[in-house]
Each structure stands twice: as C-alpha cells, then as structure tokens.
C-alpha cells in the first residue's frame, strides 16, 4: 500500500501552542505545538502524532461507573489523581474536568481556584480544563480557571454557540487557549470560530472539538465531520483551519459495557478504538478517561505513526 497521493492543497492547519514552560512564563516541564499539518492524516506525510491527554475530575459522582471502578486506591483528590496519572500513565497532558460545577446550584467558586492550583502544582504537564456547562455559573467558574492558571497557557473548554463569552473572556484576559465545541456539524463549527474571532480570540488560540460520538453510536458522523473540517482547512478555509481535539467519553457509557461481564475490558477497547479512529480522522489531541486506555492507546498510535512512516519510505 502506498500513501503517496499527489495533491496540492492551498491551506494548512493553524499551529497552536499549549502549555508554557518556565522560559515561556509558566511552570510546565514541556509545551507542545499542535497543528501545522499540510495534508490529510497518513497522506504523503503522516503529520504529527496526536497528543494523549488523561482526564480526571474533581467530583466523581457523574464520572462513568466503569472508570470509577478502575481507579487505583489511595486517590483522594484531583491533585493526587493528576500526579498518579503523570507518573504511572505518562500521558502528554492532563485534562481536569470540573464536574463539581455540574451539581445543581453549585456555588463554591473559591474551591475551583484551589483545585486548579493544586492540580497545576501536582503535575508538570500542560493542563486542559473542562469548566462548567451552565450559563448561570460560567462567568464565575471561568474567571477562576483563567486566573488560577495565568501564565500556564491552559486549554480552556468548552465554548459552545450559545455560551462562549465567559470561556472566551477568560482565554483573552489570562492568555489561554480555547476549545470550541459544536454538535457534529461543520457549518456550526465554522460559525462558532467566526464568533470567537469577533470576540477577539486570535485563530492560533482556538482548538475545534467537533464532538465525538461513541463508536457504533454515531461516531461515523463525527468522523465525516472531522474529515470535512480538515478538507475545508486544506482547501483554504481559514475559519476551519484549527487543530481538533477528540474526547470519546461517550464510548464509556455504551450499552455493551453495562451489559458485559468484563466491563472494564470492553470499556478500554471501546474508548481506545474510538480514539484511534479520531486520530485517523485528524485529531491533534485525544482525551481518554479510563486509566487502562492510556497505555494501549499510546501503543496503537505509535504503531500507526511509525508504521505509516515506514510505508511511505518503502514506497518512495
């Protein structure tokens, strides 16, 4: 099989830098430049390997049961969880999901700053934060995330079409990156990016989340939307030329896991398979929640990328 397919694209994917080292004004041990691709994944040049993010949360009440069951003993707070993740699973970044803000009438905003600071102190990896999802508390939540992470070039999520102002404001005020999520729809993705730009967010601070359906439960829509976003970008549409992030969290709650005798194994397979497919569709960051997924996903991605490089050089 030969991956060489001559095609001249007029566009390329915007580069976005996430995390900030000491030299860059932060405290991370590493920062990453994502994006910059000039072709489809695996075509001609294989593009950059996606980053792997391990996702933790500050309130496990709404975390998938199968993930809670798989959590190692002795983790009592997000900071120790993040430290465990970095040390044991060796992901490229940590994603902190502020699930505590999803409780009805959540108002303990002071603890958000403390949580973010404690996780930043516990890990040296670049941090992605998933904040609230309720316009009533967004403003309070995102200003604290932004402030607590000032200088660290966090990736802040999630902006949506009808509630993006607070995330955008935090990204602008405290120099962070923003995740723009739309429900598996290329036009809405474009529109949201335009809205964010009008707010004043530069293109190189936006990451598209096209929303990741679970494999077998709508992932094909995600795949084709990601493909179309990448095609549009390569054909010169600047409004869609941002790198993409994919979080296959939906794949941890599928019926097959609930009904299985070995739910953890099925969950890992499901999450990994969805993430691999997202990588092939062009995701620059893959976010997984099951601790068992990280290492096999790493193996799969390495094999895919190294494998494809071999193919290209063999063919050339």
């Amino acid at each position: 099989m030969n991956y060489i397919l001559p095609h001249t694209w007029s566009g390329s994917i915007q580069t976005v830098t996430i995390g900030a080292t000491k030299q860059e004004g932060g405290t991370r041990s590493v920062s990453y430049e994502i994006g910059g691709d000039t072709d489809l994944p695996f075509m001609n040049r294989s593009g950059k390997k996606p980053l792997l993010a391990y996702e933790i949360c500050d309130d496990t009440a709404i975390w998938p049961q199968v993930v809670r069951d798989a959590m190692p003993k002795g983790i009592s707070d997000p900071a120790s969880w993040a430290a465990y993740g970095e040390k044991t699973l060796k992901p490229d970044c940590i994603r902190l999901n502020l699930t505590s803000t999803r409780k009805p009438n959540s108002s303990d905003f002071a603890s958000i700053s403390a949580t973010v600071q404690s996780v930043l102190a516990a890990t040296t990896l670049p941090l992605i934060i998933e904040g609230s999802a309720d316009p009533a508390v967004d403003s309070e939540v995102y200003i604290r995330c932004g402030e607590a992470g000032q200088g660290e070039r966090l990736v802040l999520g999630t902006a949506e079409a009808d509630r993006y102002r607070s995330v955008a404001a935090a990204a602008m005020a405290y120099d962070h990156i923003i995740i723009a999520q739309t429900p598996i729809d290329v036009n809405l993705a474009k529109q949201l990016n335009i809205l964010l730009r009008e707010t004043g967010i530069p293109d190189n601070r936006i990451i598209i989340d096209p929303y990741t359906g679970a494999l077998g439960y709508g992932f094909e829509y995600t795949y084709s939307t990601m493909e179309r976003i990448r095609f549009a970008a390569l054909k010169g549409d600047d409004d869609l030329a941002m790198p993409m992030i994919s979080a296959p969290a939906d794949s941890l709650t599928v019926k097959e896991i609930r009904e299985s005798d070995s739910p953890s194994e099925i969950a890992v397979s499901w999450e990994r398979a969805t993430a691999v497919a997202s990588a092939i569709a062009g995701a620059a960051i893959l976010v997984v929640r099951h601790p068992g997924t990280v290492l096999p996903l790493r193996t799969a991605i390495d094999a895919l990328w190294e494998g494809s490089r071999r193919e290209v050089s063999d063919g050339a």
Partner: protein, 687 residues
C-alpha cells in the same frame, strides 16, 4: 435653550469652550513645574494613557513633559500626568480606589467580554440632589453597567446612604473629578490587554474605544476648568459626554437627569438582555415541534375559521415602549371554550440598526416564538395564520396578553443587537381586526412589489445559502432577485437581510464578477464562489440553465424541473403532487435521485415562484419549454399572478401545457403535445 434654563432656574452656567482653554493652560503650567519620578502601582503599562497614545514608557516627570509636548498637549495625557503627580505619595484617601491595578482590570475586562457588564459609565461633578444621582446609579446598576464615580458626587451619594463598592458595580475613583483620568487609563489598558491594540497606535486605540468599549460620561455641574478640559478630551475616544445642566457651548449633549442613562446607552448601542419571560407557561425551542389537537384546544384564531393576521413594523424610536403589551378585545376569561376568535398580532419595533427591509424576515419569527410556548401553537404567515392555545395553558392562568409578553421578550432576546424596543398589540375584537387587517394587506402588497420589481441586473451582489450543507455537504444555493432559493423560503431580500443580521451565517454576499454569458446566466464571480463554497466539488454554476452546469440540489426544493428528451421539453412536478409523472417516477423517487448536493444536468430543484420568473430556463427558451405540470400548480400560479397571468400571455400557454388529466404516460403526453402544437416541439433541440 441653555440660556433659557439658566434664566428660569437661575443656575450658574459654565461656558465650556473658554473653560477648556483655561484648563489646558493650568494643566500645562502644572506639568512644566514637575520634577522627580512618576509611576502608578502594580501595572505593566507605565502611565497607561501616555503609553497607549505615544508608545512611550514614561517613569519620570521629564519624560512625561516631553511626551505631553510631543503629543501636541493631548489633554488625556496631560490630565494623566497631573494625576500621577497627585498620587505619587499615596494613591488615594480611604474610601476611594485611586489607580486600579492591572489584576483587577483583567477581571473587569473579563466581565465586559463575558457580557456580565454591558458597558462603562463615568459620573463626575456635583449632582443637584442626592436623589438625582442615586436614581441614575440605580438605573445603571439595573442595566448591568459598570459605573465609575469621582468628585463630590461620591460623598453626596454616601451621605444619603447609597453604598458604593466594586461589588455593587459603583466604583469610587477619587475625591476630585480629575480622577476620572483613571476611567480613561482603564479604557487604554483594556484596549491593550483585550483588543491587541499596540502601544502608540492611536488610530487602533480610537477604533477599539469606538467599537468595543461601550462607554459614556454623565457630567453634573461645577467641574473645574482642568476637569472640563480633561472630560472634553474623552470625546477623542468617541465617548459621548452627557451633561444634565450647568454647562453651555461646546459639544456636550444636554439631557434630563431622568433620561441621561438611556440616552447614553442608546448612543453606544447598549441593549439589556432579557433572560426570563414572566408568563405562566414554559417557553423554549424544545416545544417548537409539538402540535395542538382540537380536543386539547381552548381557543383558536384564524386558520380559515376567523380573520387573523400578523404584522411586524418598524417605528421611530420614541414611539415604541419596550415590553408594552396591549390587548384590544376580550381575553380568554371572556371567551367561551372551544371557540374561534379573530386575532391581529401587531409587533412594533425600534432599533438603530433596524431597517424596514428586515420586517418580513423578523415577522416570520413570530411563527417560531409562538411555537416555543408549551401551550401555544402557530402555523403559516401573514393573513393566513392559525393559532391555538391549549386548555391546560388557560387552566394555568395563561392570558392572550401573555403571548404578547412572550413575543416582546423573544424578539428582544433573539435580535439583541438589532432591536432596542419591542411593543406588541393583540387584537381580538372583530371589527378592530378587520380594520387593522386592511392596513396590513397594504403593507404586504408593498413588500411584494419591492422584490417583484427587482431584476438581476439591478444588483451587483447575489446571496448564497448553505443552510442545507448540514446534510448536503457541497450544495450551494445562489439567490438572485429573479431566482429565489430552491426551497422557496428565501428571496434575495431575505438573503441580504439574513447576512446583515448575522454576517457570519449561512447567507453570504456573492460578487457577480464578470458576466460570461448573459443568456445562460453565467458569472465568473458566482463560479468562483460556488467552487469554494462547494469545497471544490462544483466548478461552474450556470444560473438560468437546466442543461449546462445547473445549480446543485439539496433536497428542500418546492418542485423539480426535468427534461423529457422525447418531447424536447421540460416537465415540472411539485412536492405536493403524489401521482405518477410522464417520466414514470413520482416526486419523491425523483427527489431522492437528484438531491444531496449533486449537480445533475437535465434536472433542477426550483421554487415555485422561479417558474414564472423571466429568468426561468432562459438558456433553453424559458417557460415555453414546459410541457407538463400538475393541475394544482397551474391553478396556484394563475391565482398568485392575478392580472399579470393574462398580461404575460400565460393563459394561452398554460392551456396547452399538459397536466395529469391530459397525460400520465410519455406516449399520452406526446400525442397531446402534437394535438395542441406545443411550441417545445419546434424549439431547438435540448440535447
């Protein structure tokens, strides 16, 4: 006017232009004597105004003096230097903020971008009474503005028990009005922090202040000359200065204290967002799809059972009271259950950006909004509407006036940037409906004429529609005055309006560019646009042709036109027509074949009204090519065109176009066409 005021009330008047001259001299004098270092605490922006305007990082009196002289004695810079000197030792007395550090500005800027603060207001001077000042502050608080206070107004407020604090969105900057400088240094820092305005780039600073920083100033009497010179200089940043008396001459706007806030907000285009609608019925797009059956219905309006209509019109600003709802006629408590009642819905709107061209587009939203109500339902448009309210809603105490509240609130919410005020009149009295309906009809007709007279060559821009790309990824509609979108729902005017209302939306302007072929309607600009918008899939889009690179079809078309090679003509079949066609396929089978964004020569999806356009199939000879269409479509066109049906000679032509009563199979059709000597038979060959 001002002179009269001073005569009748006996107030002291300050003459602004001469005060400015004196103020400039005093400030220049102070600056010329300055020595030593100058700096504000906890900021990376040095003297922020000076830094923003000149790009210089000033830390000493000497450097400040040079910057001031080099800026041609810019009064904002001058006042900043004077204040920096005053605050050299101690920032401000207790109870005042003085210079505000960067960290806090970041938070304030956050709230501005975030929308939790809608705009900024600076109040300075000595108010005529504590009540006047308190009322202005309260209004600003209620309207989500962030208010900065300086000078005697602060003590007047606090002495009368008004609390001032950042948490209350009332920020006491300093004991003297010159401390209003901090308002300007905040604007300068916000522009540099959030607006990416480089230090020293005055034109970008001014643009940012004009477009993004929604600020205005309210001035009470008794400012000193220096303070007047400074305040007046804020006009450079396009900040309106509103005085409530005490000054004459100059460029400050005079207002009553009661209307100062609304005047400032109007000048800056700041509108308050409505969040909850106070009616006893849930209201959300989630309910849009429900219908109300007869058994559930308490009352209905229109739908052929009673006269009913809806109308949205633009009025001048002063004539619309925002949120006002008027009911003329009985409400539900005086209406028997199960009855059909007349209804007039008249929505009057005002807004600086609103244009009468937008009226029909906004009017169509009445349909959505009434359907948002859990217990209300709406179909059709204009004088064809049909509205129902459920028994359950009425049992929950819903009144007809609540529909008015719902409409007023939703219009304000959804068209926040467009509308400043919306008032609704509902009419259930039969005679009043009849009278108002006559006026509405006249307006409908005027609107129709506006688009009817418009020709493709009259405009330089067409509009695109890619709404359907969600399911037909490469489909692009090009909408021209004489060719509406193939769904029939969007005319050229609607496309233009949609673009103006939502410049990043699915309708974009299309430059026609060089005309390549006038007859077939091919433009170089249209081709270029379609190529890009179809992601490179479609290379050409010929607007008036069915054979040569015709427009793509999504799936929403009202009708399909397709060639019947054997007849050398074209048949048209509508979505409503369920029967077989001479081609041997029904509409739905055909639709499935040509939809999905494909370009299929020989087949086009069209709106019904495109059929009667002069541009219809212009490349292939126009409507003379049509050999077959359903009978209901002929009748619909005849009714809709009225007089012009005869004027255009359609009565003769349509009488020889076959319908399902003349021919169902191709053989029957051929026989029929020959029997009537249909013109298509002798036209140039289609293929």
């Amino acid at each position: 006017m001002i002179q009269e005021l001073s005569n009748t009330k006996g107030e002291m008047m300050t003459e602004i232009p001469s005060a400015i001259i004196r103020g400039r001299e005093k400030i220049s004098g102070t600056i010329s004597a300055l020595t030593g270092d100058l700096a504000f605490p906890e900021t990376a922006y040095h003297l922020p105004i000076t830094y923003a305007v000149t790009g210089r990082e000033v830390h000493t009196a000497d450097a400040a003096r040079t910057a001031y002289e080099d800026s041609d004695k810019n009064m904002l810079i001058g006042a900043e230097i004077v204040v920096a000197e005053q605050e050299r030792e101690i920032s401000e007395a207790t109870g005042y903020t003085g210079f505000i550090e960067d960290a806090l500005i970041r938070k304030l800027g956050y709230s501005l971008v975030d929308g939790s603060i809608l705009g900024l207001c600076l109040i300075l001077g000595t108010p005529p009474s504590a009540d006047t000042a308190a009322a202005i502050c309260r209004e600003l608080q209620e309207k989500l503005m962030l208010t900065f206070l300086c000078g005697p107004v602060i003590t007047v407020l606090t002495d009368s028990g008004v609390k001032v604090d950042l948490s209350l969105r009332l920020i006491p900057l300093g004991a003297t009005s010159i401390k209003g400088v901090h308002f300007a240094d905040i604007l300068a820092r916000v522009a540099m922090m959030f607006g990416g305005v480089p230090p020293g780039d005055v034109s970008r600073l001014i643009t940012y202040a004009a477009e993004r920083a929604k600020a205005f100033v309210i001035v009470f009497p008794s400012l000193s000359d220096e303070e007047i010179a400074f305040v007046d200089a804020l006009r450079i940043l396009n900040i309106p200065i509103i005085q409530v008396g005490g000054y004459e001459g100059g460029e400050w706007l005079l207002s009553d204290p009661q209307t100062a806030v609304s005047k400032g907000m109007e000048l800056r285009g700041i509108t308050v967002r409505v969040t909850a609608i106070p009616i006893p019925m849930a209201c959300s797009p989630a309910f849009e799809g429900k219908s109300i059956r007869k058994e559930e219905m308490f009352v209905e309006f229109g739908g052929g059972r009673s006269p009913a209509f809806e109308l949205l019109v633009t009025r001048p600003h002063g004539e619309v009271t925002d949120g006002k709802v008027t009911l003329i006629g009985p409400d539900v408590d005086q209406i028997p259950e199960g009855s059909a009642v007349p209804l007039g819905i008249i929505i009057e709107v005002a807004g600086k950006q609103m244009k009468s061209d937008y009226e029909p587009v906004l009017e169509r939203r009445i349909h959505n909004f009434i359907n948002y109500g859990e217990g209300s339902w709406h179909v059709a448009q204009r004088d064809l509407i049909w509205v129902r309210i459920t028994k359950e809603a009425v049992a929950n105490n819903l009144k007809i006036t609540d529909l008015g509240k719902l409409l007023a609130a939703r219009f304000r919410m959804d068209f926040e940037s467009l509308l400043d005020a919306v008032q609704v009149t509902l009419i259930t009295d039969k005679d009043a409906v009849t009278r108002a309906l006559a006026d509405a009809e006249a307006i409908y007709q005027k609107r129709d004429e506006r688009i009817a007279g418009l020709k493709d060559e009259d405009v330089s821009l067409y509009y695109s529609c890619i709404l359907c790309q969600t399911f037909a990824p490469n489909h692009v509609c090009i909408i021209t005055p004489e060719r509406p979108a193939l769904c029939g729902a969007i005319t050229w005017l609607d496309g233009r309006t949609a673009y103006e209302i939502s410049p990043s939306g699915a309708n974009q302007p299309v430059e026609k560019g060089t005309l390549l072929n006038a007859v077939s309607g091919e433009y170089e600009g249209v081709n270029r646009f379609v190529r890009k918008a179809s992601h490179g899939e479609i290379q050409r889009c010929v607007l008036y042709s069915i054979m040569d690179a015709p427009m793509t079809c999504c799936g929403c078309f009202e009708a399909i036109a397709m060639i019947l090679p054997e007849t050398n003509g074209v048949m048209v079949v509508t979505r409503e027509f369920r029967g077989d066609t001479p081609f041997g396929m029904t509409f739905s089978t055909l639709a499935g074949t040509i939809g999905g964004g494909a370009q299929t020569p020989g087949f086009i999806g069209i709106s019904k009204s495109y059929l009667t356009s002069d541009r219809f199939l212009q490349a292939e000879g126009g409507i003379q090519r049509v050999v077959w269409m359903p009978a209901h479509l002929k009748e619909e066109i005849r009714v809709k065109m009225g007089e012009s049906f005869h004027e255009k000679g359609f009565d003769t032509l349509f009488s020889i176009i076959a319908d399902e009563t003349d021919a169902v199979t191709l053989d029957e059709l051929l026989t029929y066409l020959e029997s009537v000597s249909h013109p298509a038979l002798s036209m140039p060959s289609l293929i």
